[in-house]
């Protein structure tokens, strides 16, 4: 996927020290690639990983696949939160609104006798539409106000939903079961659908962030005023991101009710979801696609490991999150990728000076995506 770019040969300015670097970029022999090494191997690895995961229901017990379904659900949510905070600079502590709504959309579909799996795209779409409305309400707010306002929105969604006795009111409602399908098969279907949605989300994210929107988002993240001044459609980009995040969380919520299979409003709209999303992103690394993946893995490993310790698990998690936020703001993946210069999902650019084969040594100029949480004096 490397595409050597042919920039126009320019006149390097005479005398100034920066001329050497300017000459390097305008020299037609300079190559610009998307990734440092050939992206073939990571892509192959991804395909193999997905294939193994897909085959899993034939190999393991239902308990493991259920666990993995929860993993995929959190992975989707964490990726969405990462998109919001790490790329668009929008901190939301109210995504549970869309998760809850997603669950209830699927419930509504199921209550009408339709296959709840069909309810999934309804959940995603419905949440996306609600996201549009919410953005219209909140878009003018600055960060702190915006954050709490999202929580208020989630609270409002909860309060409205519990008024409907047909949806179970305040106690909740089970998802009508599909009598024609056996439990094992249903479990497997749920697993595959969850896997598929997770893969779709990650691939879509990758595609989006490689493209124009990703460029705009990085500009916004680094300097919103500067981005506006060069014509970037900042509001449009943030709107898109917010709606995408709402859609993704809606899908996650739909998966949640399908896997349970019931919905309990307090849990569905609980701020606990936000806590888990935030922790996964924080520990894995905000601002990269790989970060939430790593973070979700760590989260689940910790959960299994410390499950017997009850609330200590959350205390430890909270303490780790605080420590990471202050001392390792780029998370685990940030630490890893800094050392090893790996990008599994290459969304940046590498510039190789003339005469140097792409992938060898270190590049002359490296245009890197920088994290949003820059340090200020």
């Amino acid at each position: 996927m490397s595409s050597p770019v042919q920039p126009a040969a320019g006149q390097p300015a005479a005398g100034q020290p920066a001329a050497a670097q300017v000459a390097a970029v305008t020299d037609p022999d300079v190559r610009v690639t998307r990734s440092r090494r050939s992206p073939l191997w990571p892509a192959l690895g991804a395909v193999v990983a997905i294939a193994i995961l897909a085959y899993l229901p034939y190999l393991v017990y239902a308990g493991t696949t259920s666990l993995l379904v929860n993993f995929f659900i959190l992975l989707i949510m964490a990726s969405m939160w990462n998109l919001l905070a790490g790329y668009a600079g929008l901190v939301s502590v109210g995504q549970q609104a869309f998760i809850g709504l997603g669950s209830y959309f699927v419930l509504i579909v199921g209550l009408h006798g339709i296959d709840p799996f069909i309810g999934l795209p309804v959940a995603a779409l419905g949440s996306g539409v609600v996201g549009l409305v919410v953005w219209w309400l909140l878009s003018r707010l600055r960060s702190g106000y915006f954050a709490i306002a999202t929580w208020v929105i989630a609270s409002i969604c909860y309060l409205i939903v519990i008024r409907f006795a047909s949806l179970g009111g305040g106690t909740g409602e089970p998802l009508p079961s599909m009598p024609t399908v056996s439990n094992t098969l249903l479990n497997a279907y749920t697993y595959w659908v969850a896997l598929a949605v997770a893969v779709i989300v990650l691939v879509s994210l990758y595609a989006i962030l490689r493209g124009r929107l990703g460029l705009v988002l990085t500009a916004v993240r680094d300097d919103e005023t500067g981005a506006r001044s060069v014509g970037a459609r900042v509001s449009r980009a943030q709107l898109l991101v917010f709606v995408i995040a709402a859609t993704g969380c809606g899908a996650a919520g739909g998966l949640e009710i399908i896997s349970q299979p019931f919905v309990q409003p307090t849990a569905a709209f609980s701020v606990q979801w936000t806590a888990e999303m935030v922790f996964a992103c924080l520990i894995g690394g905000i601002g990269t696609i790989e970060g939430p993946i790593l973070g979700t893995i760590v989260f689940f490993v910790l959960q299994q490991w410390l499950a017997s310790y009850g609330t200590w698990y959350f205390i430890v998690l909270g303490a780790i999150a605080i420590a990471v936020a202050i001392w390792a703001p780029r998370g685990l993946w940030g630490l890893i990728s800094e050392r090893l210069h790996i990008r599994l999902f290459p969304v940046g650019y590498w510039v190789w000076p003339a005469g140097q084969a792409a992938g060898s040594g270190s590049p002359g100029l490296r245009l890197r995506r920088r994290r949003g949480a820059a340090s200020r004096p």
Partner: protein, 291 residues
């Protein structure tokens, strides 16, 4: 006449909300910190009071004498360590750190006090009510809390506007660098502001504990943070008087909503908040220029 009673209850409740909110308002106004752990800190104060009472056997109403100064110290230390460290890394970090703090506090409380509800029993002196006519009932406790809130808020307002330390706090809030150039160590002044904010949170938490029962998760489930924030936004950032107005408005609207249907109490308040956000985001008492 029950509507009048609702309004009066709302006003009194508003005092409690305003007490919650003034700490948040201070932290945000001075340091631009949104403390997502605000509600949990109040509950922590409540539990601390429970612990103090259990150990020292002092009457409940005097528990604040120990807890409030303790919280002030906690606030100063917390600011100089955690909050300062996250401030230098940007808005996202402060939100994340306070969020993490919220989780740690809630779960630590649950670990040490169990998930059961507690309440700060109040002496018989203030468990009585005042009756006006046949429809209006004012619990003495509610009245006391309201008066305490008014005194605290007005006192704080006076402190900020007329004292040297208050002036320094306002200066640092306006322009941190210019304050440094005038010789002020802004970290210390931030610490003072945080100490005051934490002290008010402690007061609010103890009042809340007397007002109703609480459990470790009340910080989030009781939406205390949300109410505090809503009070600040409705009233307008920039003056504590505005916070009082905001708290009262929120309380009144909530109580009126409860009159319509008991489910609508919280929702009514949320909707008021949204309305203010939409049509007058700078709040009721603030002029447009500071929005």
């Amino acid at each position: 006449m029950t509507w009048v009673n609702s309004i009066i209850q709302g006003i009194l409740l508003g005092g409690l909300y305003a007490l919650f909110a003034c700490g948040l308002s201070l932290l945000f106004g001075v340091m631009k910190v949104i403390n997502l752990a605000h509600g949990d800190l109040a509950i922590l104060a409540g539990y601390l009071a429970v612990g103090v009472i259990a150990v020292t056997h002092i009457p409940t109403v005097w528990s604040f004498i120990i807890v409030v100064p303790l919280f002030a110290v906690l606030g100063y230390l917390g600011q100089r360590t955690l909050i300062q460290a996250s401030l230098s890394r940007g808005v996202l970090t402060t939100l994340l750190v306070t969020f993490g703090l919220s989780v740690v506090i809630e779960n630590a409380l649950q670990q040490f006090f169990s998930a059961n509800s507690h309440t700060l029993g109040i002496g018989s002196l203030i468990s009585d009510s005042l009756h006006i006519g046949s429809q209006i009932t004012i619990a003495y406790l509610d009245l006391v809390i309201f008066l305490v809130a008014v005194v605290v808020l007005l006192g704080l307002q006076y402190f900020l506007s007329s004292s040297r330390q208050g002036r320094l706090i306002r200066a640092v809030a306006d322009d941190r660098e210019a304050a440094q150039l005038a010789g002020a160590d802004y970290r210390h002044i931030f610490g003072i502001a945080a100490a005051i904010a934490f002290a008010t949170v402690a007061l609010a938490g103890i009042a809340y504990g007397m007002y109703t029962s609480f459990n470790p998760a009340s910080g989030t489930t009781a939406l205390l943070l949300l109410f505090a924030f809503e009070a600040v936004v409705i009233g307008g950032l920039g003056s504590l008087w505005g916070t009082l107005v905001g708290g009262i408005l929120l309380g009144v609207v909530q109580q009126l909503g409860a009159q319509v249907s008991s489910d609508d109490q919280v929702l009514a308040g949320q909707l008021l908040f949204l309305l203010i956000l939409l049509i007058r985001p700078q709040g009721i008492t603030t002029s447009r220029r500071t929005a």
